[in-house]
Amino acid sequence: MRTTGRFSWFYFSSPQSFYPLAGALQPWFAGLAAILCAVGLYISFLVAPTDAQQGEAYRIIFIHVPAAWMSMFLYLVMGFWSGVGLVLNTRLSSMVATALAPTGALFTFIALWTGALWGKPTWGTWWVWDARLTSELILLFLYIGFMALQAAIDDQRRSDKAGAVLALVGVINIPIIYFSVKWWSTLHQGASVSMTGAPTMAKTMLLGMLIMALGFWMYSIAATLARVRCVILERERQTDWVAAEIGRQS
């Protein structure tokens, strides 16, 4: 650590300094999430028109696609931070990874549930074993496996590192989910939002989806910040600053 007066981002890599930062930022992200989701819901119900082929059933897209994006994105973030913790031996990175998992699992569940409810009226079936659905289901199992493994190991450092290895091994599933609709043309529709070409869906639908996705992202950050604060308190209970913090709370 430098002792000059210059600010360093590494200041926040200690649990003690990150804890108040997380506490300060969390309400802002929660507020942003509420506003964005409200706007997104407004668009999804009161602006976006009825779809010609699917009728009103398509409105599930405003939850299903953002949730699926979040499920994949959060797993990558979780893998990244647990990898950082594994390589650099930093405690906070592993704590953040542990805090991300439940929210990621939740969005995976939401993606699967809303997908099933969308599939029934449009495809005629609740579930089909095509590549994208199967790999999204595997993603849910990977999240659960990560959480189960960390819960089963008592030694904290070993738990963090083992979880990191598991998360990194499972990262290979994410490109499979993402590209599976391109590689195998089965039931799930192909990508309509691409990074390169112009999207093929109506502008309002796309806008609603993007805003909901942003809203879910802000929510994920807020939930993770809240959870990592709990994790920090639990793990750092031997330190004086946590004792002082708890003293202030009660």
């Binding site: 199992f141 496996g145 493994l149 450092r157 083992a162 290895v165 599933n173």
Partner: protein, 222 residues
């Protein structure tokens, strides 16, 4: 390095030979599970023929997974694993040796047993052949991926079920393409794509899995 690999292989095979019961148990489990299905769903031949690839592959998967408990735990208990970590040889080589011996004792017997069991399901000869090839390519992948799970859960309480939870999601693609290859043969669409993909999985896991397993072993033992 090759000598270290050979040493690990010889030692594991020797130990397995002395406890033949363990190896035979896994094989008997495979046979019994596969035989349960015709008893459960009824003996109608066309139904059995449709089910056969999936049933045989799932049974192989489960048998392989059950035998993962023998992969590192005995060596961990008697202190050999610690010596392996301290040895001058690269841990990846020693891990690879253990995985190969694991496959020879749990995967290869399944490959050899499969044709007989396939006959129970009235599979035609070409399906049987593809089944054996798919198992031949796929079971090493199961051993490789399984070794990562076994290393991660070394000495953890409740590790039996936990290994299943960790490893089965990663087994799913192998299962899909393994069973799918036999189904494709029965359909007439040809199993090349499936078998090539399985080969790709084998290549990928051969490169990545021992490395991940070695990392997991170091984490478990520190």
């Amino acid at each position: 390095m090759i000598r270290a690999l050979g040493w690990v292989l010889r030692r594991d095979l020797l130990l397995a030979f002395r406890r033949r019961g363990d190896v035979v148990n896994a094989l008997v489990f495979f046979v019994i599970v596969v035989s349960l299905f015709p008893l459960g769903v009824g003996p109608e031949a066309s139904q059995l023929r449709n089910m056969a690839p999936g049933v045989l592959w799932v049974a192989a998967l489960l048998a392989c997974m059950l035998s993962l408990a023998r992969l590192f735990a005995p060596d961990h208990q008697d202190g050999t694993l610690e010596q392996m970590l301290l040895a001058g040889e690269p841990l990846v080589v020693l891990v690879l040796g253990k995985v190969i011996s694991h496959w020879l004792m749990s995967g290869l017997p399944l490959v050899l047993m499969a044709p007989l069991l396939g006959l129970q399901f009235d599979l035609p000869a070409d399906s049987l052949a593809v089944l054996c090839v798919s198992l031949l390519i796929g079971t090493p992948v199961l051993s490789l991926i399984g070794s990562v799970g076994a290393a991660l859960t070394l000495g953890v309480r409740g590790s039996g079920v936990l290994v299943s939870l960790l490893v089965l999601p990663l087994y799913v693609p192998v299962l899909i393409f393994g069973a799918g290859s036999v189904v494709a043969t029965a359909n007439g669409t040809g199993a090349e794509a499936h078998l090539l993909l399985l080969g790709g999985f084998l290549a990928l896991s051969l490169v990545l899995a021992p490395w991940a397993t070695a990392a997991a072993l170091r984490i478990a033992m520190e």
